[in-house]
């Protein structure tokens, strides 16, 4: 399982998304590699990712990627992340 967390700069939101996704995956007992990236890096390295984790405003920039897009509105809300990740994984 490969997950890529994407934001505009690759240093803020994507890092937060990565950390909180790792917490949730841990809770769910799922082992996955989670990477943080900016949009251009995601397009380069991302085609092999199963899941693309991002925020709603950036979804349109990533729609060409083959992985499943999961948009998180509130990056600190572990419940939202857990619900959306579980749905994407099932």
């Amino acid at each position: 399982m490969k997950i890529i967390a994407v934001c505009g700069m690759g240093i803020g939101t994507s890092v937060l998304l990565k950390m909180n996704a790792e917490k949730v995956l841990d809770m769910l007992g799922i082992s996955a590699e989670v990477q943080a990236a900016d949009i251009s890096k995601a397009k380069l390295d991302g085609p092999t990712a199963d899941i693309i984790l991002t925020t709603p405003e950036l979804v349109y920039q990533l729609e060409s990627m083959p992985g499943r897009i999961v948009a998180i509105e509130h990056v600190f809300d572990l419940v939202e992340i857990r619900e959306k990740l579980s749905a994407a994984l099932s």
């Binding site: 934001c7 505009g8 700069m9 690759g10 240093i11 803020g12 939101t13 890092v15 937060l16 950390m19 909180n20 943080a36 900016d38 925020t55 709603p56 405003e57 950036l58 509105e73 509130h74 990056v75 600190f76 809300d77 572990l78």
Partner: protein, 148 residues
Amino acid sequence: MSGLLNQALAEGSITLKAKANGWKQAIELAGVGLVASGRCTSEYTQAMIQAFEELGPYMVIAPGIALAHARPSAEVLSTGLSLVTLSESVHFGNTTNDPVSLVIGLAATDHDGHIDLMASLSELLMDVMKVNMLLQATNLEEVRTLFS
């Protein structure tokens, strides 16, 4: 862990109960804090505004909270944060998380040197009670206590 936030928010980086006339001024205030605490040049502030204009309001990462930042560049002198609380909340154009009353400015020298700091920041901002206390704080001592 918590010491990291106190270090990252160096002297001059915190502005409480500020007035901002729109998102641009709110980001500028975060930039002023970063510049005043020696984290970056004023060009970085302009880069944060430009990033917002290009990529849109995704930087509003949680209800009421914006994380203003641009790419690591030569304009960043050292990795750190700034913090601005707004006396009146401001619309950033985010559909779910507007209006914003807390702006965190982030300057990073590279892509992975600030991961531990982001973990501490995440821990703080996840705590709704602490965020509310932060928003109501009127002096630096109150704010610093929340980090420890």
